[in-house]
Amino acid sequence: MRLLAPPTAHDHWPVPSNSQVIRGMTKPGNSFANGEVAGSPRGFSTIARITRMNLRQPWLVTMAIGSTLVAASLQLLIPALLGKAIDQTQLAMGAGVSAAATQEGLRNSALVLLAVSVLRGLFTLAQNYLAEAVGHHVAYELRVAFYEKIQSLSFSFHDQAHSADLITIGMLDLEGVRMYFSAALVRTVLLVMLVGVGAHMLISMNLVLGLLALSFVPFVALRSSITQLKLRATWLDLQERLCVLSRVMEENLTGIRVVRAFAAQAYEMLKFDRASKSALGLMHERAEIYVRNISAMNFSFLFAMGLVLSIGGNKVIAGEISVGKLATFLTFMTILQMPVRQIGLIVDGFARASTCGSRLFGLLDLDIAIKDAADAKPLEISDGTLRFDDVSFAYPAAENRPILKNISFEVRKSETIAIVGPPGSGKSTIAHLIPRFYDVASGVITLDGQDIREVTLATLRRAVAVVQQDAFVFTTTIENNIAYGDPWANAQRIERASESAQLHDYILRLPAGYKTVVRERGLSLSGGQRQRLAIARTMMLRPSVIIFDDSTAAIDAATERRIRSAMQLFAKDRVTIIIGHRLSSLMHANAILFIENGEIVEHGTHEDLLAKGGRYKALYDLQVRAFDDMLPNQEGVG
């Protein structure tokens, strides 16, 4: 009934109606945030912390609360003014007060009423705007803090966190915290002021009528709080179901060729319908809860109004009160009903701020596993020697499963070392330890004699570069992508790097050349092109240690050979580590490490290892056998 309750459903119903982030919602059970961080309900301290954050804008907060109090007081004046005006006219009729005097009185009342209305409008504007502003300032601070934290949390954290959960925290939970001030705190102040002072005024005017007029308050307050909490509880469930639905759709669209190839459209529609029905059922339930509550609240309010009207009417007839007084009561009720109905929203605002806040702060308070030591010094490269000394390692999530055991080796500038081994043997882990993506469990890794844990991360990571197998493509120009690690580089350097990586010719064919925008998803760069981009990007860094982590798997052998020869000069000043499967591309290394189950089982040059006749030789035979009957007149794989 919107004559008395203007707000539309959208104010009351926390359905993220047009939210593009609907997928990847918080998934209870599989999110680290639900598991460790937000497990303990630290509701009160979270609320206190958000409040403290709000207070960092002391002026805005004071003015916002001040405006709220003034606006509420002004609003409380209106019913009495209206009642007075009505009584003035009535008195004039009854007791023969001179028309001119009444006119004068009415004009004064009207002017006061007008002034009060205008002022109330202005203060409401101030109240709402300032409250929003406080929230937005907090949101800005949190946004930047969150971004900074995400960037600095180490790999071991990101290995376990779902990106969808992080996005949820950074966008939706942050919103929940932002809304706290305007949706929960300011509304509470307004409510306490209106109900408290209003009740006092009503009851002091007439006890019975006052109590009757307020009779709807506890009922509506309770109903609206319970309903909001119910909706909140089902909200998470609904998000979960919508998440399943999104996944069904997204997978179908991504794998559309498989679906078509197996003529599985009917089966896919079945999957869709099942997910869809389950979500729809819950949405219907929620609609029912919501609508029933709205109708009940309206009814109780109107019923109380009816009581005031009939009992008040009798009092008017009995001469106990005037018609103006009765109108005052009725107007008061219409003023009170809005904030009272909003109690549910206030409760929701607190609940939301507390859960969202504890998730968000839980993340912001996380310790960063890998950071600079207190006395960290910049890394100084002199002759460029990398040493592994008895290094062992296990991933933090599975500490009793050692990945590397007592690895020791040494490489010098201009040397190349190759690491081979079966899948899961720990090859890539070696690559991740050198730039300190993870810290060793025991042993030590040194660069020119400096323990990598004792130098600053920034200088270490500048000096050590890993060419990843699956290069991340940022949505920007290809030029910016290449210069990602050195955004101040000039165009010539960028071109030279992409030439070496055999990417230059391809780029020139693109519609806008180096200025072409490429993106993470979509049909732009093939696997091989991404790997070449990764190589170009790494060359821009001019690292002292360059590690190819199976990063040429999708590049054909001929192109790879061209890349290698183009990089020869580049490699002269650096340590090169090649991790891979294709023996032809790593057999010329100065030394080859064969790793199995985290241990170095063979170590030597290609020739040494072939002569030795061990694991490496077996792998070599395996690769060559596939082709050797086709290679009658050539020797080896080269």
């Binding site: 919107r2 459903a9 939210s19 609907i22 997928r23 009535q90 009729m93 006119q103 009415l106 002017l111 002034a115 205008v118 409401t124 709402n128 705007y129 946004r143 930047v144 960037q151 990106s163 996005i167 759709m249 997204e250 179908n252 794998g255 498989v258 190839a261 197996f262 319908d273 869809s276 709205i294 309206n298 009814f299 109107l302 019923f303 009939s310 009798n314 018609v323 107007t331 730039p435 993506f437 500048r462 570069a465 890993v466 990843q468 991340f472 120009t477 910016n480 050195d486 955004p487 391809y506 093939s526 001019r542 054909d556 001929a558 192109t559 499967h581 395996l622 596939a626 086709m630 290679l631």
Partner: protein, 652 residues
């Protein structure tokens, strides 16, 4: 010192607060329009088609809305009646008051029922329509031409299926509420004029002021809201990028630069939101002041009218009540206006998807392909291109006899993948015919064709679910025994049982918890369970470690046993294993025959063979020494690799 020193100096002079020239975070712009026209007849007509099945519900809801509006208008009138007839000071009429109380009770009971009915019916209906539209769109995407799917990002389609479909739901709810608001507005105007024409007109005199103010306010406010929306998406986009690309960021030590760039975006977001908040609140004092003016008018003019006995006090009270609510429908109408605009833009995008043509459709009298067909595949003078001007396959003819394995080989861009897609009728040929089991594929139902051909794609795609479910994807009725048998046959059993949960192990998105080789083996098992006479297979190109590679080669032999096989072969071992080899070059069959024959012929195949690459695709054009290649290639699909080769050629 290594070159590190040089890097340092370069960085030093760069740090004089210059922005890095090659750095951004997140995307630069928003790609889709947020608002459209508020009303677009065509779109409304299209949406109506989805609402039609529920029109009874719609009528009920609108009827309830009218009743509801009626009771809303009635409440102040009953108050007025009670005052004027029940409470004359001193000489009240208690029976009139009782009547008023009863009327009031009746009105609010009706109000209760009508409000419940109106809202529940419209909400449920809107939700149903939302799901219907989503289903129709999703279902349509199952059948649209693959050429459309090829060039459309999944993310974009998902935002059709989520955001845009949701605004359709909003649209429906809003239209009924809008209608309610308009009725209420007219109702109030009517009742006020009916109570007293002069006082009514005088009160409405504030309206033009409101309209004029709104006229100035609306475009500016909308601009401010859109700006806030946009900066919000931009900063969220940058955040998402930081989360997804965090490893790249850290390994290249870009945190500082990124934080600086992100701070700019977050600041811009703060600024636009503050502006938007200002605009959003600006109307509050104006509406409040106008309400004040209207009330003042009623008090002064109405008061003197009461004194001169032209109207009753009750009328004045009723006026004061109406005025307090008069601006609400106007306020919510403005809100609804922008929802409408957003919905129209969404509707446009949705109808665009729904209108994508179904290029490949079953004929009315299409034959059902049965498992009893002979299992042959034949290409007869097939010409086909994604762009009809530039055919990818030109007059291609070859036949795969039942039980035979044919390897398709040729450099990248030679049309192998297209040929494979045609067997499944993913696309229709331009000229010629593709026959499966002796039938033109265009004469068969797509469903039966799909059921008789198993396909293994180059990139194995697995669905979220268990290993078991994935293996029997093609044949939902397959038993556990069949599944295990298939997995054993392709050599996947041993790693599957080692997974936590074995066959019931849950696969993450796209099977990312398995290695590429393992995924490949599962997709082989899937094809084996399907047990069809025909197998079409695109061999993986990526380098798989030698151990898994060996397993795959063995599995392949098992998979092709007793089946008609058309294999896009990349590995020499696979090619050797085939009964016959068809060499494609620039969309034409260059040569075909057995391995020995082809070697003897000394043509393209023997050249490819002698070049000794692990995979035929690796072979760069210049090594093929076919100048013809360049010319054709530049016409062919501009695949990245192709483009690369072309350029090389042009330079010579």
């Amino acid at each position: 010192m290594l070159q590190g020193g040089e890097v340092e100096t370069e960085r030093d002079d760069a740090h004089d607060d210059r922005r890095p020239p090659h750095a951004v975070v997140g995307s630069h712009r928003i790609e889709e329009a947020i608002f459209g026209q508020a009303f677009d007849k065509n779109i409304v007509r299209r949406i109506w088609a989805f609402v039609r099945p529920y029109r009874t519900n719609l009528i009920v809801s609108v009827a309830a809305m009218l009743i509801l509006t009626g009771t809303q208008l009635l409440v102040p009138l009953i108050i007025r009646f009670a005052i004027d007839h029940g409470m004359q000071p001193g000489s009240g009429d208690r029976s009139a008051l009782l009547a008023a109380a009863c009327a009031f009770l009746f009105a609010i009971s009706v109000n209760f029922g009508a409000s419940y009915t109106q809202e529940i019916v419209i909400y449920k209906m809107a939700e149903k329509v939302l799901f219907d539209i989503r289903r129709a769109t999703f279902g349509h995407l199952q059948d649209v031409a693959l050429s459309f799917m090829d060039k459309t990002e999944v993310g974009r389609l998902m935002s059709r299926l989520q955001g845009d479909v949701n605004s359709m739901q909003e649209l429906l709810e809003t239209s009924v509420f809008c209608l309610g608001d308009i009725t209420l507005l007219f109702g109030i105007v009517f009742v006020m004029l009916w109570l007293d024409v002069r006082l009514g007109l005088l009160t409405f005199s504030v309206l033009p002021v409101l309209l004029i103010v709104r006229l100035f306010w609306l475009p500016r406010a909308r601009g401010a809201f859109m700006a806030a929306n946009e900066t919000n998406s931009l900063s969220n986009g940058a955040l998402a990028e930081a989360i997804h690309g965090v490893r790249a960021v850290q390994s290249m030590d870009r945190q500082q630069v990124n934080l600086m760039l992100y701070d700019d975006k977050a600041r811009a977001n703060l600024k636009t939101h503050l502006t938007a908040a200002k605009y959003a609140q600006m109307m509050v004092p104006i509406v409040d002041s106008l309400t004040g003016v209207a009330m003042a008018v009623v008090i002064v003019v109405g008061g003197s009218m009461v004194m001169s006995d032209r109207i009753d006090v009750g009328v004045m009270v009723a006026f004061l009540f109406y005025i307090q609510r008069f601006f609400d429908p106007i306020r919510s109408l403005t809100l609804q206006y922008s929802i409408m605009q957003r919905a129209m833009a969404s509707g446009k995008r949705l109808t665009d998807v729904l209108d994508v043509k179904l290029e490949v459709q079953d004929k009315a009298n299409a034959t059902v392909l049965t498992p009893e067909m002979d299992g042959s595949i034949e290409f007869r003078n097939v010409t086909f291109g994604y762009d009809p001007q530039h055919p990818v396959l030109k007059n291609v003819s070859f036949r795969v006899n039942p039980g035979e394995t044919v390897a398709l080989v040729g450099p990248t861009g030679s049309g192998k993948s297209s040929a494979m897609a045609l067997v499944h009728r993913f696309y229709d040929v331009q000229k010629g015919q593709v026959l499966v089991g002796g039938y033109d594929v265009r004469d068969l139902t797509q469903k039966s064709l799909g059921r008789q051909i198993a396909m293994v794609l180059q990139e194995p795609f697995l669905f979220t679910g268990t290993v078991f479910e994935n293996i029997r994807y093609h044949k939902a009725e397959a038993t556990r025994e069949e599944v295990i048998e298939a997995a054993m046959a392709v050599g996947a059993h041993s790693f599957i049982v080692r997974l936590p949960g074995g066959y019931d192990a849950a696969l993450c998105e796209g099977g990312s918890n398995l290695s590429l080789g393992q995924r490949q083996l599962i997709s082989f098992a899937r094809a084996l369970v399907a047990n069809t006479k025909i197998l079409v297979l695109d061999e993986a190109t990526a380098n798989i470690d030698s151990y898994t590679e060996m397993l795959i080669q063995k599995a392949l032999v098992r998979l092709l046993e007793g089946r008609t096989g058309l294999v896009i072969a990349h590995r020499l071992a696979t090619v050797r294993g085939a009964d016959r080899i068809v060499v494609l070059q620039n969309g034409k069959v260059a040569e075909s025959g057995k391995h020995e024959q082809l070697i003897e012929m000394g043509g393209l195949y023997s050249r490819l063979y002698r070049l000794n690459h692990a995979s035929f695709d690796d072979t760069p054009d210049e090594q093929l020494n076919t100048s013809e290649a360049a010319g054709y290639r530049s016409e062919a699909r501009s695949s990245g690799e192709t483009a690369h080769s072309c350029k090389r050629f042009a330079e010579r």
